[in-house]
């Protein structure tokens, strides 16, 4: 590292507005280039995936968390540590299946939609924050946890809250071999 540590330390934060507006510019650009909402959603998801597979490194380096021993610990980690670190919010976690591999994160405040009032009528099925799903999916895959992540409810589409559903794809017994 040839740079002095002092300057780098202060630059570890950026303004939330810049991030949120840049994300908005990205979504707007995608909407201009793709006519169908599904295409935009897919594109956002795959971009999120590329970001997630790299963000996990930054997360593990900065948070120094211990290995998670169960799916519910993982879901808690995502909600309480990762979301706090990168978006400044803490969604609440709930487990919605008996098998213990389906969770949902409920976001009261979603900073990505700070400047978004509502979706335009011609874009009614756009998942504006689909990038987040891709990020979570990519990050989990890099720690060998296959999962499906989708939006179950979205405030922009008229639901009461924004809810992200995470379904871990392997059975809990498969994790017993980890020591």
């Amino acid at each position: 590292m040839s740079r002095s540590p002092g300057r780098k330390q202060e630059n570890h934060k950026i303004s939330r507005e810049l991030f949120v507006l840049t994300y908005g510019a990205l979504v707007a650009q995608l909407c201009k280039e793709y006519e169908k909402d599904e295409d935009v959603n897919t594109c956002l998801d795959s971009m999120g995936y590329s970001i997630g597979i790299r963000l996990i490194d930054d997360f593990l380096a900065r948070s120094a968390v211990k290995k998670c021993r169960s799916y519910s610990e993982t879901a808690d980690m995502i909600a309480q540590v990762a979301f706090k670190m990168y978006l400044g919010v803490t969604p609440s976690v709930s487990c919605s299946s008996a098998t213990g591999n389906v969770f949902s994160l409920i976001l009261d405040k979603n900073p990505l939609v700070d400047f978004v009032e509502e979706l335009p009528p011609e874009r009614a099925s756009l998942c504006y924050c689909n990038l987040l799903c891709g990020v979570i999916r990519g990050a989990l895959e890099m720690v060998h946890l296959a999962a499906e992540v989708t939006f179950l409810q979205d405030r922009l589409k008229g639901d009461a809250v924004t809810e992200i559903g995470i379904t871990f794809l392997r059975k809990p017994e498969d994790r017993k071999h980890r020591r």
Binding site: E10, N11, H12, K13, I14, S15, R16, E17, L18, F19, L21, T22, Y23, G24, A25, L26, A28, Q29, E33, C43, M47, S50, I51, R54, L55, D58, M85, Y86, L87, G88, P111, F115, L131
Partner: protein, 166 residues
């Protein structure tokens, strides 16, 4: 305030996305400038409402100092390093930054060495100046770090001079 890593990765995806759809460095810079434009328009509204409620800059120097100080601080966390005027041209000003935030994790391969991702910041600045009533062309250059060259329209400078006269 959010983590730089998140923004850097988002910006990297943005650049890669644009790169896949254009054929030349100039077009890539143009795309980045357009995205920056989008951001600049909206950032200006939010910022002016917070920092200068009810007051609008009417002089060129005023708006440039606003850009160097409050705007840069709000977006990038610190003032722009330097603000200079061209010696021979009263329409041209330079905002200089040694290490622009958007270029923090960008390494440019030799075959694309003229690419400067600060084109994003240039588009942002152009939108801010245009929406404040000071239309200009802003471009990014590799000079003393990164220099954003602002060239105001003739009408702006003429108006400024007539204001000074009063």
């Amino acid at each position: 305030e959010l983590s730089l890593a998140a923004f850097a990765l988002l910006f990297s995806e943005l650049v890669q996305y644009c790169q896949r759809r254009v054929g030349s460095v100039a077009e890539l810079q143009e795309r980045l400038a357009q995205l920056g434009h989008h951001v600049g328009l909206r950032a200006l509204d939010a910022l002016v409402a917070r920092e200068r409620p009810g007051r609008r800059e009417t002089k060129v120097l005023g708006v440039l100092l606003f850009v160097k100080g409050p705007l840069w601080r709000a977006l990038f966390g610190h003032d722009a390093d330097k603000l200079e005027q061209a010696n021979d041209d009263d329409r041209t000003f330079y905002v200089i930054e040694r290490e622009p935030l958007v270029n923090t994790f960008v390494s440019v391969p030799r075959e694309n060495s003229s690419l400067n991702c600060a084109a994003f910041a240039a588009g942002l600045l152009e939108a801010v100046l245009g929406a404040s009533g000071f239309p200009a062309r802003v471009s990014a250059h590799w000079h003393k770090g990164t220099t954003l060259m602002i060239k105001f329209d003739e009408a702006v400078i003429a108006r400024d001079k007539s204001l000074e006269g009063r």
